[in-house]
Symmetry: C2
Subunit: 642 residues, 2 copies
């Protein structure tokens, strides 16, 4: 396969530059209809506005972080920040003056609360003012700042209103004074990464490089010796060894980031760190960071990722364990972690299109991430197991409500993950019915994408330009697709000759009326796991396009582990499911263990089997009808009688 030099700089298309229809359009409609407002409602119910309302008394203390409960929490600013961000994206799609007014009110509160020096944090201004910057390791202080910045950037882009952007810029200016290698400055960084990627967004929207520099400082300092968290603990009179996770791997601060080779610790923290590293790699063309990230990427993708793009199997550290340890029923695979993987993958595309990242971005987006939000936008998964005995069901809210706004802000801003642009190239990373507007080579270009992807692989692009301009359009050719065809203005393109890093790159003069036809066959395929994944041995999982499939009790009855795929997917038929947003189901002939086994728990005769047709539905759409058993990895093979 051809490759390109990696000194290019691709940046995501701003969210307002893309109109979304199709599957993602439906999800965005649900967010506009329901989720965005609900996020604010739930933040209010939890007491988050009281926490930042300086006209009210301090919300008071409160057990920090654990146990969850209706108590003020150190990371509430982050929930508000992500909720504001979601609302902002929803306003791009659909005006909602009432919702906008509610956010303006929150912004006013933050304005009033902000310290004269620029500092802004509900917990450390209102609950424990004497504890500012005393425990970067555990206190989520810069993490909260990061989410407020992200919210501010999105809200500015959505509404043109600068107030929150100005507030967080003042805060960031204060951070620049506070953190650094100079006399009296703190050489620290946050135990929960997030501020890094937020500062890059702030730099991009304000054009202020100083925020990039602070981000790079946090990245460069992380994990260096003498260890900041250790010295900080001693200064604070705490035992540096006595903390919940007892390892700096938990916060990826066990080594300088360029020396890290293994994806470890808390999954969301890891993803957010890698996002910041990738952004800095792009902005500074920093090959040392890119090299570390490529090693970490391989480590994650080849040893630690569920087929769904779920990551972080363990609840104990909300994160990574041993290689190939991917239990299905007890999978933690937090929605936020898959969202974070999408974020990271998207940023790995900053130095040029490469399906090595984009294929995984799509896989994590459609499966491990999108499963976190119900079709109606009203309920949420925190954990995303690949098997359920029927005891998993999306909930209305969570005491640690990180996932709801995280999946909502991702889906509401999906346009910026679909399209990216450099000086002379448009990259189409994800497909879906949409219109995208670009400024490239001095021209205004519009791509109108017509498709029913991911349910159908026929994709057409109509190009409109204000003048004929030379640039490249790079279209991802998924690695899983066989028999892809590409035509420009009706003329077949030899894919092999134009494909670079898995993208068909059409570099030519483009003019209005040009048309691209891309056809990506979506044949169902049976996947197998590396034998080192003991949990999936002898099992197979179905995919079609980017979508992982599963069986649910609501279609197939209980006893899903009694299903055996005896003839693969060769005789699959498809059906459109009206009650699942037009999703395509796969009906597959299979063998099933008969239920009439009798009372014995064990016996020497294997279960009798019968032929059956089993219905597979897209994994992200499970638990949208009735709760019950669910299974991704079904048994493969012909007979189970030894």
């Amino acid at each position: 396969m051809n490759t390109m030099k990696r000194d290019r700089q691709f940046r995501p298309l701003p969210v307002p530059s893309v109109d979304i229809h199709g599957l993602f359009g439906d999800r965005q409609e649900a967010i506009c209809d329901t989720t965005a407002e609900m996020l604010l409602d739930r933040c209010v119910e939890a007491g988050m506005l009281d926490a930042i309302d300086t006209s009210k008394p301090s919300p008071g203390i409160v057990i920090p972080i654990q146990p969850w409960g209706g108590t003020t929490q150190m990371f509430w600013d982050s929930d508000l920040g992500k909720s504001i961000e979601t609302v902002a994206y929803s306003l791009y799609r659909r005006k909602n003056p009432e919702l906008e007014a509610r956010v303006d009110e929150i912004i006013d509160m933050y304005g009033k609360m902000q310290d004269e020096d620029g500092y802004l944090n509900a917990w450390f201004q209102r609950v424990q003012p004497d504890r500012r910057w005393t425990n970067l390791r555990d206190h989520h202080e810069l993490y909260c700042a990061g989410h407020l910045i992200e919210g501010a950037v999105a809200y500015f882009q959505a509404t043109g209103k600068r107030k929150l952007l100005d507030i967080v810029s003042r805060y960031a200016d204060y951070l620049i004074k506070t953190f650094g290698r100079g006399e009296g400055q703190l050489r620290g960084y946050c135990g929960h990464e997030e501020i890094e990627l937020a500062l890059v967004k702030l730099a991009r929207v304000t054009g202020q490089k100083k925020y990039l520099h602070l981000c790079k400082f946090f990245i460069d300092e992380r994990g260096t010796e003498p260890h900041y968290f250790t010295e900080e603990a001693i200064r604070d009179g705490r035992d540096p060894a006595n903390f919940i996770q007892k390892t700096y791997e938990y916060s990826q601060s066990h080594q300088p980031v360029r020396e890290q080779r293994k994806v470890v610790g808390h999954a969301v923290r890891a993803m957010y760190l890698y996002c910041g590293m990738a952004d800095i790699a792009t902005e500074y063309n920093d090959d040392s960071l890119t090299a570390a990230l490529d090693t970490l990427w391989d480590d994650l993708i080849t040893k630690q990722m569920y087929l769904t793009g779920g990551i972080g199997p363990a609840v104990s550290n909300e994160g990574f364990t041993d290689y190939y340890d991917l239990p299905n029923e007890s999978a933690y695979a937090e929605t936020c972690a898959s969202v974070g993987l999408v974020f990271w993958a998207s940023r790995m595309l900053g130095r040029g299109p490469n399906r090595r990242y984009a294929d995984i971005m799509e896989q994590a987006l459609y499966n491990g991430a999108m499963s976190g939000l119900s079709l109606d936008g009203k309920t949420f998964f925190y954990e995303n197991p690949l098997e359920s005995a029927g005891n998993h069901h999306r909930w209305i809210w969570h005491p640690c409500p990180c996932c709801p706004p995280n999946i909502a802000r991702l889906l509401a801003s999906i346009g910026s993950y679909m399209y990216a642009v450099s000086d002379d190239e448009i990259a189409v990373h994800l497909y879906g019915e949409s219109q995208a507007r670009f400024d490239i080579g001095g021209a205004k270009v519009r791509l109108a994408e017509k498709t029913h992807y991911p349910w159908d692989g026929a994709i057409g692009f109509d190009v409109t330009t204000d003048r004929t301009t030379r640039f490249a359009i790079s279209l991802r050719i998924p690695e899983w697709a066989d028999g892809v065809t590409l035509k420009v203005n009706g003329e077949t393109i030899d894919l092999a000759s134009v494909t670079i890093d898995g993208y068909a790159r059409i570099d030519r003069d483009w003019t209005s009326g040009d048309h691209i036809d891309l056809d990506i066959p979506l044949a169902p395929r049976a996947l197998f796991a590396n034998p080192l994944v003991r949990h999936d041995a002898g099992r197979t999982a179905l995919m079609r396009g980017p979508m992982v499939y599963c069986v649910e009790a609501t279609d197939n009855g209980d006893g899903l582990n009694g299903i055996r795929l005896t003839s693969g997917v060769s005789q699959t038929t498809m059906a459109e499911l009206k009650d699942l947003g037009g999703a395509v189901a796969l009906d597959v002939p299979a063998s099933r263990d008969k239920a009439d086994w009798g009372d014995a728990l064990y016996r020497t005769k294997p279960p009798e089997t019968e032929e059956a047709t089993v219905r597979f539905v897209p994994y992200p759409f499970w638990d949208n009808r009735s709760p019950g058993e669910m299974l991704v990895w079904v048994r493969a093979g012909e007979r189970n009688d030894a």
Copy 2:
């Protein structure tokens, strides 16, 4: 199958009446060599003797029960009681004046510590003297009494020394005054059952029915309303609803015991309760208890038991969860719980031989229980999973050291589980090289059992009597055995005509020189689990005789889930393993996934397979060579490519 009326009363043969050789002899040798002394050493190291030494200051408080640690614990008396019991049984087998002197010293301390009223408890005399009888639900107070009683009975039988027996009798007399339905008495019972079965032992050894009455009181009161634990909590100023497990099911006190239909809660507690119930059913010929026990037995055996006789899958309550919830790798299946199941099964035989109980007793004994002790008697499993990724290994000791003395006292007293006797019948429940002495029908009878069981199914009995006497000998014919043959003095007995409840009952005049030949073919067999056990779907487990088999990495390399039994057990060959105490290994042709899969985590091509011979070893003997992967339920079937 013929059945007998259940108004008979069988009692286990006293431990000193049986000499043990063969496999159990080896285990007892290890206990005499090592375990018995080690138990005392570890109790001393933990500080248990300081806790009862009244010449020393109170050991002081201390977080009760949780978290475990090197702190005084409420249930230390029970650890000492079980250790004394183990030492006592070891002294039957082999005199050890030094060990006996150490126990005498402990007994002297208990004698000095005992309150004038008879009360005896290290924690509530030395640490929290004002808390006596304030929280029967959580404080293990009567549980500790029970284990001291069991230790006293065993030590008296072993040495003839009455001191500890007198101490605990005084304590039991005090309990009779304290507990009851009279004015000023407590109508309570212990949250952790144990005192019940201990009182039966005390009654049997002393001939004092009053101890049976107290046991029956505890059984009858349990779970009645108004609920003792609720009233006690209110009296004590505690919120009755606020306790760790938040359900009286945890302690099987959610209903009167005769109304209980489902095995619930903490597994060891459940087993010990059922033991007490079964003893009372035997002693009082109480059909209402027997009926409840039979329902509970079915519930456990048909819905909640691992193939190994492990019970209680969950760590969260150390107990039972949902029906058919039997995860293999995360199985709790505490050694103590399987020991408790052996205890219960043994007592279900009190009303007559029945293989319905004895088969399970043997299965739990050989597998889930015996796996708890290493072959050298030096290390212990607390949990007994049926699959390991290599991260399970027996430990030297445990902060909650209930399992080590529990499995040790069971194995050291195994003779009393092998043989039982009524007025006119000897029952042989378990087979193994041994000599047993009976008083029956006024005669002294000796059975000399010659066999290499469980490795070989040929079993011979030489009968010696001091005079010709009529009685029955009932020999268990395991349900799993095909083609069993039985001869008396060379003459073949028609099994169908003499088998009652799964026992061949030979009722005749017995005289010295009589000889019985029983042959139980031990063909390896492949077992399958009820399809409702989702964890075992498409899998098979091998057994031979009572022994469950497993594969270990030390014999087969890693990747045990890559093994598929393709032709069952028909081509099995056997090998004797010198390094595993002469255990018989099964070498079985199988197919294995090849390791040369490459780097990808997932792909559309199934793993290639190769033919291999796989070695299965007895499950209880796993982790006696080197730590590593282990698996009981291997994949069954021919191909895994869908």
